[in-house]
């Protein structure tokens, strides 16, 4: 349907007039047709990077942005032909749903009839055909979000840019729209760059995830790479919960409590061992396990989160899907599958 474009970001940094460094100098290649997620806490530079691609901000001198082989660095947003979805939706309150969706086509002086057809097609795509004559303030949050998406896609942009499009919605709606957006992007085959601070959103949507922190790119990888093999402690913490376990390495064996696991050959000397809460299994005997006392439990429906004190300061978090009583103050024995151990440089 739409012609998707690869994007190259070359040596782009961003310093504001007051001296704030929003983005260190970075390089990034976006593959044609993929959904790339920029993930990080607020202030990490992800939005600056997105706005640079839109042309709403310009990179510091020396930075270049290519759409395919065309250098667009000097082009204003008006001529870049990007579609952008804003966190606040930024729908025009003085126009109807159909007028919003057709605005980019009107600016492009598309003949009335073709415009009408394209708007109808877009509204059908986001399942809002029935609401085309509505005013924006008559729509729910989720409907506004879909109108914003339709408006951005209607002009067949070279790249679709999404700036935290789901942040303003509540949890249940966010989850269902996440699936809708994913389906839509895959059907359209459009290159999309998606900014979010929500790791669940990033993992559900991204072909690749770019984790950012303090204006720098920390790791680029598939969702499973990011989650199971984080590049550093920041990434491990940011994408899900993680336990730091203190142990001793001797003769290629890592020991913590009664547990003894083979130390990976490629692990850094003095490396820190981390295990995710769902990778700790409850066992029945102390032999070969890390033992501790259950200090708190939270039933979360599909799992129960246990807090276990193993005498290492912060309690160890354990997620289990077992149904049990989990009596407080009882002894608990934790086993680790060696394959789930994450070892990071100290």
């Amino acid at each position: 349907m739409s012609t998707s474009t690869a994007i190259s970001i070359l040596q782009c940094g961003k310093t504001y007039p007051n001296g704030t460094r929003a983005l260190e100098t970075v390089d990034l290649e976006v593959v044609s047709g993929e959904t790339l997620v920029l993930l990080g806490p607020s202030g990490c530079g992800k939005t600056s990077l997105l706005r640079m691609i839109a042309g709403l901000e310009s990179p510091d001198a020396g930075g270049r942005i290519l759409f395919g082989s065309e250098d667009v660095t000097a082009q204003p947003p008006e001529t870049r032909n990007v579609g952008m979805v804003f966190q606040s939706y930024a729908l025009f309150p003085n126009m109807t749903v159909a007028q919003n969706v057709g605005y980019g086509l009107r600016i492009r002086r598309l003949p009335e009839e073709r415009r009408r057809a394209r708007v109808a097609e877009m509204l059908e795509m986001v399942q809002l055909s029935a609401l085309s004559a509505r005013r924006i303030d008559q729509l729910s949050g989720g409907q506004r979000q879909r109108v914003a998406l339709a408006r951005a896609i209607a002009v067949t942009p070279r790249v679709l840019l999404l700036d935290e499009p789901l942040t303003a919605l509540d949890a249940k709606l966010r989850e269902s729209l996440r699936v809708d957006i994913d389906t839509l992007l895959r059907k359209a085959g459009i290159t999309a760059i998606y900014v979010t601070h929500d790791q669940a959103e990033a993992m559900a949507l991204g072909d690749r995830i770019v984790v950012m922190d303090h204006g720098e790119i920390v790791q680029i990888g598939s969702p499973t790479q990011i989650y199971h093999a984080p590049a550093n402690a920041f990434v491990a913490d940011f994408v899900g919960s993680v336990n730091r376990l203190q142990g001793n390495v001797q003769d290629g064996v890592w020991r913590c409590g009664n547990a003894a696991l083979p130390w990976p050959a490629d692990a850094p000397v003095g490396g820190v061992v981390m295990v995710r809460p769902e990778d700790l299994r409850l066992g029945h005997e102390a032999a070969g396990a890390i033992s501790g006392t259950l200090t708190a439990r939270y039933f979360l429906g599909n799992r129960t989160r246990l807090l276990v004190d193993i005498g290492q300061g912060a309690p160890v978090l354990v997620d289990t899907s077992e149904r049990g009583e989990f009596a407080l103050a009882s002894q608990v024995h934790l086993r680790i599958d060696p394959a789930t151990m994450i070892v990071l440089p100290a």
Partner: protein, 276 residues
């Protein structure tokens, strides 16, 4: 509001009711009497009729309303450009410029009239300048142009501030969205900025109109050769003791102004008369 809260304030209201009724009576009585007085002359209801048929009265009515409409239009155009520019840009001296622009707010109409005489009266600055340039002295103060300038002088600051307040509330993401969709700066002004400023422009325009129609001090000080409506009312009342006509003229003025304010309120929402 909860039922208990409502019960509470209604009780308060009941206690206040006698005071409120008394107050309201004195609020309404003079206005009711004004309408009555207009119909009490030798001609009866004829005073109202004469206001619309007598050449002098009609001329004054038309001059006043047309002048006020023109002032409103000019004020809106100038203030919109200046207000948007001042809101969008930060530069050294901006606060000073703003303070200077809004200084006329502190002057009553009499002083504004005085200022206009200093600017373009017989000994005015523009007179001196034009005499030096062309040999002819240009004296605008006592004509329609003088009144026009005077009204602009006290209208522009209010509207600039209203435009700035409205522009400050404009969601800048709307402008950015329009840009990514390909809109040019002029298209953005047409499709985003002006619609967003609409209510503020309608309401401040209505107030500007009402103020201009009612301006007395400026016109009186300038002693212009055009008799605007408040001057006419004053003259009929004080100099000719023609009270029924003065009342009829007041009622016409009040009704027209009230209609403009009500219309603006229905278009732009409740803020209109608040800022009046």
């Amino acid at each position: 509001m909860s039922m208990d809260g409502r019960k509470h304030t209604l009780l308060l209201g009941a206690l206040m009711a006698p005071a409120a009724a008394f107050f309201l009576a004195f609020w309404l009585l003079p206005m009711a009497r004004l309408v009555g007085v207009g119909a009490s002359g030798p001609q009866g209801m004829g005073a109202y009729w004469s206001v619309l048929t007598n050449q002098n009265y009609l001329t004054s009515l038309i001059y006043t309303f047309v002048l006020s409409a023109l002032v409103t239009l000019a004020t809106l155009v100038i203030s919109c450009i200046a207000g948007l520019f001042l809101e969008r840009n930060r530069f050294p001296g901006r606060s000073l410029l703003l303070a200077v622009l809004t200084f006329p707010l502190a002057f009553p109409g009499v002083v504004v009239g005085f200022l206009i005489i200093l600017l373009c009266g017989r000994q005015g600055l523009i007179g001196d300048l034009t005499k030096w340039l062309t040999g002819e002295k240009l004296v605008l103060a006592y004509s329609l142009s003088g009144l026009f300038l005077g009204y602009l002088y006290f209208s522009i600051p209010r509207v600039i501030l209203t435009v700035m307040a409205a522009a400050e509330k404009l969601d800048y993401a709307l402008v950015e969205a329009a840009r990514t969709l390909g809109a040019s700066p002029l298209q953005i002004v047409r499709d985003v900025t002006l619609p967003a400023l609409g209510p503020a422009l309608v309401s401040s325009g209505a107030i500007c109109f009402a103020t201009s129609v009612g301006a007395f001090g400026t016109a009186f000080t300038l002693a212009t050769n055009i008799t605007v409506l408040p001057m006419l009312i004053y003259n009929e009342f004080t100099n000719y003791a023609n009270i029924p006509v003065a009342a009829a003229l007041s009622v016409v003025l009040g009704v027209v102004t009230w209609a403009v304010l009500a219309l603006a309120r229905s278009v732009a929402g409740n803020t209109v008369t608040v800022a009046a």
